[in-house]
Symmetry: C2
Subunit: 210 residues, 2 copies
Amino acid sequence: MYPKSIQRVIDLLMKLPGVGPRQAARFAFFMLKENHGFAEELAAGLKDMQANIVTCGQCYRTMEKNPEQEITHCTLCRDARRNETVITVVEKESDLQNLERTGAYTGLYHVLGGVISPLDSESPKRLHIREMYNRVAVLLNQQKQVELILGTNPTTEGDMTALYIERTFAPLKEKTQNFKYSRLGRGLSLGAELEYADEVTLKNALMNRK
Amino acid sequence: MYPKSIQRVIDLLMKLPGVGPRQAARFAFFMLKENHGFAEELAAGLKDMQANIVTCGQCYRTMEKNPEQEITHCTLCRDARRNETVITVVEKESDLQNLERTGAYTGLYHVLGGVISPLDSESPKRLHIREMYNRVAVLLNQQKQVELILGTNPTTEGDMTALYIERTFAPLKEKTQNFKYSRLGRGLSLGAELEYADEVTLKNALMNRK
């Protein structure tokens, strides 16, 4: 129903996570009305982002490419004050950012780049699990105590991914006492009301009482 | 906290209507991960849209520019089966599309391109109200009966805009019996529950009972 140049942009925007046809149309008309400025800036920004962003060779977080020197690790991984033997595994970088914002964490991270999908048997290969295994193995070879904190989301896919990681690391755990893993604590969120909490959350809150 | 090439895209995406920092970050990382394909297609689509889309000279709906012939009116305005003397005034084109989808309307439209903002005294000038006035005046000069249906949203701004339009047309209405205007009926939405309906909606439903 919309002119085809607009429909094309709408169809593309509908691919964005969580965006339906109506929101995509709203975005497209906004971009159209913002007269050249916005669309051109966005196009340039996207191009720039594709060209300049690389991922850290250790934690797979994104970082700016450095044209002068060959830097392969991100600022966090290069920070000597961070504890390299505590590694929190997160699904995506925004989870990492939110944990960093707490200021309560001094370890490092490992960004999986997604979750395991029950319908896609190839999905474990796309996550950086093999690299994480090697990273931990290297630390253990140096006789270090390593803790892996599984920080995937408390969703079906997140839990499945955590389980998959646990299984992957099981042989390593059998071989040494220096390796342990844990999951982020579960319970009531700040401001949540008992009356409306779901059963699983309540059960977790009971089990994790202190 | 994010690398600056990514932050730049996030800042741009946050300008989209209803998009906050977290959703913008989600979009940016999606675009980054979709490796070239998506970002480049979107950039090309935006450029194409800016170059090829013009607005109808009568109803201000968007339409594809036609390189071969000089067409100034959209397909609806050129459709002889539509009643040109019934004009529904809408805020934006997606409202028009939704009305069209009902299949129950055979008149034409007038797209305002926004609403009057109480904080911006310049906003009435940016809407196509003057052009609508001229459009109606021409029809009245041809001794036609004209009906204007005010189809702005039932929000504060929408009602304010409708009121502004009524005031603009008041002199015209005094001069002739051939001109009338109406507002879209108000009442309960399909599937709404009386128990949860707000007072204004219930009052409207009572007044518009039949």
